[in-house]
Structure formats: structure tokens, C-alpha cells
């Protein structure tokens, strides 16, 4: 009641629980998106999304066109991968991917021929309003679209009309709450028309009546542009632009839904279950390109920022471009003593070297000087039980206790403290005055728990096989014995050499 009253008066300060207000450092917010030139070599890992890896469709020596499918999806949670430009496949082998382990994955190496010819087999769907929803969904899947906000979850899975959980509201996530990153911001300013059209396609696909474009109030120009685009484009759909106070991690799906609708998505449930669908700005733009232009996902906008980058900015980059090449475009060639981050500073991962290709989930490339980095990550000190982490946690966990259990590998207790509900937003680590790497402990704990679960499943399967083998051997033995008895009964006992038993 009172909360509602304050909200009406505009006093609502914390639309979702916890959260922090970091220094946003959006130094690239006014630099327009520049097109990155074609690199001499493109490297496409066969897995660029959450889910199962793809299997290559091309062989060494094949000539491919831009947008041609080069790896096909395996299983349901998977989307295909397309050639980012025309050229020749020169090899298929393991190569480093943006992953904290530094491990490699099978990748398809394409040498561009410079012609950049498009594969024209996918035709534009101009009359999307009268096209079957499942055909549109298939188009989104075929074009390899995965969430471009960083998680890279296959988008077509979310674009579904479910009778039990009808989607009423589509929320376009223009929050971009991670410091440094401005790629969605620039897309909204420069491609607002396309984004609104993409949103209409999404609303048509899920049958939603209401659309909300949520933007944080530190992007006033984006709010202006989107408002103009929405007013300009009168399709009879209820779309409004909503300005929200700047707060991290508002861009996280469940937090954003809570901030806008006041509904909490229950643990283990999806936004669908509260009648909401969230889509990222970049993803929406990609859906527009896939449906209206018939272009598969072969490029994305990447923010190149950080104090070590001479010319910070946003670039439209072909997937598979080496990060070293991109940094070189921005005047950074010497990586000695620098920290390279893939994604934002809060949730991104540290990379060991820049010879790694850009993939669908690459929102930003940061290069930070060692001094800058050390200032942010000094040595861990003892917990002083100040409780700041609990206040900052957007899902109301108790990070300090949880970290203790993870550190001591008390995994069952960590699960009791809801380890698996942690979204790893990093708000707790950010506010910790003792500089405890809380999220790192949670990741460690989650990994260990997953390992234990895997071992248990393997052991259970082995046990079943072993038991099956035992019963089989027993059965064979019994059958043999029965046969032998039969043989003995039919033969007279005067034949002493009846087989070697």
C-alpha cells in the first residue's frame, strides 16, 4: 500500500531488492558505431551459445558465402552457425575461445576472399504480420540468433506461444547496466526504427498486447530516440518507453521484471511463468535483420573500452574476428601488463591473451592497465560481518555465509543457503570492504557441486550396468545348468563320458 503510494509520488528508490550504483564509466556512449574492416582470417568456434555444440557442415577447401550455414545445430538447445563472410575454409581444428578456462574448442577457419558475397537462399519475409508464427520462429532459429546480451541463450526457445503461460508483456531490455558497455545504447540511438520493428515482430510472435522498452535514465538520448521511433511507427500496438533509475544489476532479466511489474519470478521458474518475455536490444535488432532482410547472424556490435585503449568506441564486428585485430583498429597493439576482459567488468571473464575470436556473446572488449585492475582487486581480508553484501544482493542471499560454505566445500550447506539461485552479478564482491572475491567462491562452489552431481550420475549408471551384468551372468549360468540337467536326464547313466562338465 505505502510502497504503491510512494511509487506514485515517484519516491521509489529501490525498485528491486539490493543492487549497487557503480561508477558507470560510459566513456563510449557518444562514439558512433564504426564498421570494423574484414580481418585476414575469421575463426568460428562451433559453440557460441548456451547449450549443445554444433557439428561442422563444411570441409577444408570448401568455398562458403556470407550467411551460409557452416555448422548445424545439435539437439534442441542449439542454433546453427553461419559463415561471417565469403571465402575458403582453410582448416578445422581446436582454437581458444572466450572462456575463463583458456581451453579450446573445434573452430572453423575461414580465409575471406574480400568479395563478401551473400548467400541469398534466405528470402526476406516482408509480410510478417500475416506469416505463420511457427515459420517466423523457424526463421529466428535458422538465422542462429542467440541472446546477444552476454548469456547467448538460443532466442527461438523463448519466442513461443504457450496456452498455459500466455505472455502479456514484452519487455525490451535497454538497461545495459554493466559499466563501460554502450553497444545497446548506440544501437538504440542509431537504429531505433529497426529495433521497434523487431519488437513488433516479437510481440506478434508471442501474441503479447503490451510492450515496454526499459531504459536507464543515464541514457537520455536513447530514451529520446526510442520515444520518437515508437511515436513515428503507429501499428496499433501498445508500446511505451520507460525510464528507470540507474542501478546495477537492473539489466538482469528477473530483476528487471521485478522493477517494472513488481512481480518476482519464482526460483526455478522462467519469466514466461509470470507472463513476461524479456529481449535484449541487440537480439531484437538481429531478429529484425533475420525476418525483414533475411540475414543470418554474422556480425554484432562490440564496445571496445578500458583505460588502456587509445581510441575507445563501438564497432560492428564480424563474428570470428580476432580480438587482437579489433584492438589494433583502436590503436592498441601492446598487451604487456594489461588485463583483457570479455564482457563487462562485473560479469565478464578475464582472458589470458587477445588471440581469441569474437563470438555471439561478446558484448564488450575491455583492456585495463594493471594499476587500474589492482586497484579494483586487492588482496582478500577477513570478513568483518558488516552485512553490505546481503544488502547489495538482488536476490536476498547472505553472500558472506555462502562464501564460507563454498570455501570449505560444504556443498550441501551451500545449497541450503541457495547457492544455485545466485546470478553471479558481482554486486556483493563490489561492495565488500574486505575485498573478498565472493562471486569467485560461488562459481567455485557451483563447479564443485556440478562435479559431484556428475560423478553421482556416472556412478549410478555404472551400478545399474554392473547389476544388469550380474543378473545376466546369473541367468546364463542358470540356463546352462538347466540344460545340463536336461541332458543328464535324457542320457542313461551308463555313459560316463558325457561331456566335460
Amino acid at each position: 500500500m505505502i510502497k504503491h503510494f510512494f511509487k506514485k509520488l515517484g519516491f521509489s528508490q529501490a525498485p528491486f531488492a539490493g543492487g549497487i550504483q557503480p561508477n558507470m564509466r560510459k566513456e563510449t556512449e557518444h562514439s558512433p558505431i564504426e564498421v570494423c574492416p574484414l580481418p585476414p582470417l575469421l575463426i568460428m568456434p562451433i559453440k557460441q551459445h548456451i547449450g549443445q555444440a554444433c557439428s561442422p557442415l563444411v570441409a577444408v577447401g570448401d568455398h562458403v558465402l556470407r550467411g551460409q550455414k557452416i555448422a548445424k545445430a545439435e539437439g534442441y538447445v542449439s542454433v546453427p552457425i553461419h559463415a561471417p563472410t565469403s571465402g575458403q575454409v582453410i582448416k578445422i581444428e581446436d582454437y581458444a575461445i572466450p572462456h575463463p578456462s583458456g581451453m579450446g574448442l573445434t573452430s572453423i577457419f575461414i580465409e575471406p576472399d574480400g568479395l563478401d558475397e551473400r548467400d541469398e537462399t534466405l528470402k526476406p519475409i516482408e509480410d510478417w504480420q500475416h506469416t505463420d508464427v511457427s515459420a517466423l520462429r523457424e526463421r529466428v532459429r535458422m538465422c542462429g540468433i542467440a541472446g546477444l546480451g552476454g548469456a547467448a541463450f538460443p532466442t527461438f526457445i523463448k519466442l513461443v506461444q504457450d496456452q498455459r503461460n500466455p505472455i502479456e508483456t514484452v519487455i525490451l531490455n535497454g538497461i545495459e547496466c554493466e559499466p563501460f558497455l554502450t553497444n545497446d545504447h548506440r544501437l538504440m540511438v542509431e537504429h531505433s526504427q529497426e529495433i521497434v520493428l523487431g519488437m513488433q515482430i516479437i510481440m506478434h510472435m508471442v501474441g503479447a498486447k503490451q510492450g515496454i522498452i526499459a531504459i536507464e535514465d543515464n541514457k537520455s538520448d536513447a530514451i529520446e530516440c526510442m520515444k520518437k521511433a515508437v511515436n513515428h511507427d503507429d501499428m496499433g500496438l501498445d508500446i511505451q518507453v520507460l525510464s528507470l533509475p540507474t542501478r546495477y544489476p537492473q539489466g538482469s532479466e528477473k530483476q528487471l521484471i521485478e522493477a517494472i511489474t513488481g512481480k518476482q519470478v519464482p526460483m526455478g521458474k522462467l519469466p514466461m511463468h509470470v507472463g513476461v518475455l524479456c529481449q535484449n536490444i541487440g537480439t531484437t535488432h538481429a531478429i529484425y535483420e533475420a525476418v525483414i532482410l533475411g540475414y543470418p547472424l554474422t556480425e554484432r556490435v562490440v564496445t571496445i573500452s578500458g583505460d588502456a585503449v587509445p581510441q575507445q568506441g563501438n564497432m560492428l564486428v564480424r563474428l570470428g574476428t580476432s580480438m587482437r585485430f579489433i584492438y589494433a583498429q583502436r590503436g592498441l597493439t601492446d598487451f604487456d601488463g594489461l588485463q583483457i576482459l570479455h564482457g563487462g567488468p562485473m560479469m565478464g571473464e578475464r582472458l589470458r591473451h587477445p588471440d581469441i575470436p569474437v563470438i555471439k556473446s561478446s558484448t564488450g572488449l575491455l583492456a585495463l592497465s594493471q594499476d587500474f585492475f589492482r586497484e579494483a582487486h586487492p588482496e582478500e581480508e577477513p570478513c568483518i560481518r558488516c552485512g553490505h553484501c546481503s544488502e547489495a544482493c538482488p536476490i536476498r542471499l547472505t553472500p558472506n555465509l555462502l562464501a564460507d560454505h563454498c570455501r570449505n566445500e560444504q556443498l550441501e550447506k551451500a545449497a541450503d543457503y541457495h547457492l544455485f539461485d545466485c546470478i553471479e552479478c558481482g554486486a556483493c564482491s563490489y561492495v565488500c570492504p574486505s575485498h573478498i572475491p565472493l562471486v569467485h567462491y560461488f562459481r567455485f562452489g557451483k563447479g564443485q557441486a556440478a562435479q559431484v552431481r556428475r560423478e553421482q550420475n556416472f556412478a549410478e549408471a555404472s551400478r545399474q550396468r554392473s547389476e544388469f551384468r550380474d543378473t545376466r551372468i546369473q541367468r546364463e549360468k542358470d540356463e546352462k545348468a538347466a540344460k545340463r540337467r536336461k541332458v543328464r536326464a535324457t542320457h542313461t547313466p551308463t555313459e560316463p563320458n558325457q561331456g566335460k562338465e
Partner: protein
């Protein structure tokens, strides 16, 4: 005061003020022995609650209808121990049947409830204080409740302590005893709350 407020007083005094473990220092052995894990502590608490309540009522009956009429008060301890031992054997069989894992977890401490001085202490104090049947049952139950309370609280503390950076010299029993001592100090704060 009404009867019920009397009963409430007895319970309150047995649970908090005259807590058997922390102010009378009886039953320390299971208190330290099975407080490692909350689950076993809860199991132990129920076992002790069962034994203590029944033991105090049964011992009151024996006292009133066998020992006093026959003038056999010198056999008091033997009788009481017999009662307790029987009850413990009974609960041991029951736990083995109902929860074998708890049975394993309690280990030797389960049969050792027999020698839990708190149980015999309750039975003896009951007859010393000339309690009626109802009050002695309540007193036994309250004492068991107090035991269960501190046992579960303490097991929670110990579980937390497992991950704490305790100095090497204090690791293990040392820090456990220090914690128990501090808990006892805290419970002294209840003294004077109820005059019994």
C-alpha cells in the same frame, strides 16, 4: 497463581533458568559428543526427551508405590537405573528400525543415554523436591526440552565454526569447550528470572 501459570513456571525454569547442561553441568558428555551435526543433535534431542519424560514419571510411580510403601529407599538408584536402561534399550531398538542412518550417527552415545547423568539427575531431583505426578512429568519434559535446546543451538554454532579460521592451537575440542563455556555464561543471564 493458577495451576497453569505454575506449570509454565516449572517449564520455564527447567528450560532456561536451571538448564541442566549449562547451569547444572549435567549431561555434558552427549552435549559435546553429538553436537557435531544438527541432524544428529535433533535425533539425540528427541531420544533424550522421550527417555527423560518417561523416566521421571516412571520413577515417580516407583518411588510412590513401591519404594516408600515397602521402605526400600536404599534401592532407589538401582530401580531408577533399571527404568532408564529399559527405556534406552527400547528407544535404541526403535531408532534402529525407524532411522538406521541416525542410529549410525548417534553411535555409542545412544546406549550411553543410560549413563547420562542428566536423566538420573532429573529422576532423583524429582523425588527430592516432592513433586506431584503431573509436575514431575512436566519437570522431566522441561529439563529434556532445555537439553534439546542447547544441544541444537550448540550444534548450529559448531557447524558454523567448521569453516571459521580458528588458530591451530585452538582447533578441535579446545574451541568447542570455549564456545560451550561462553554459552553457559550467556545462559547465566537467565538466573533470577524465575524463583523456584
Amino acid at each position: 497463581m493458577s495451576v497453569f501459570s505454575d506449570f509454565a513456571m516449572i517449564l520455564l525454569s527447567a528450560v532456561l533458568v536451571n538448564n541442566y547442561v549449562l547451569t547444572k553441568f549435567l549431561g555434558i558428555c552427549p552435549f559435546l559428543g553429538v553436537s557435531g551435526k544438527t541432524e544428529t543433535a535433533i535425533g539425540m534431542s528427541f531420544a533424550v526427551m522421550f527417555v527423560m519424560t518417561l523416566a521421571s514419571t516412571a520413577s515417580w510411580l516407583v518411588q510412590q508405590y513401591i519404594l516408600i510403601p515397602l521402605d526400600l529407599l536404599y534401592l532407589q538408584t538401582i530401580f531408577f537405573i533399571l527404568i532408564i536402561a529399559t527405556l534406552v534399550q527400547f528407544i535404541e531398538m526403535m531408532i534402529h528400525k525407524v532411522s538406521p542412518v541416525l542410529y549410525q550417527g548417534l553411535g555409542i552415545y545412544l546406549p550411553l543415554i543410560t549413563t547420562n547423568c542428566a536423566v538420573l539427575g532429573v529422576a532423583l531431583l524429582n523425588v527430592q523436591q516432592d513433586n506431584t505426578f503431573i509436575t514431575s512429568a512436566l519437570y522431566g519434559f522441561g529439563a529434556a526440552l532445555g537439553f534439546a535446546l542447547v544441544l541444537v543451538l550448540f550444534s548450529g554454532l559448531r557447524e558454523r565454526m567448521e569453516g571459521a579460521p580458528v588458530p591451530d592451537a585452538f582447533k578441535g575440542s579446545a574451541v568447542t569447550l570455549i564456545t560451550a563455556g561462553m554459552m553457559s555464561l550467556a545462559f547465566l543471564g537467565f538466573s533470577g528470572l524465575v524463583k523456584v
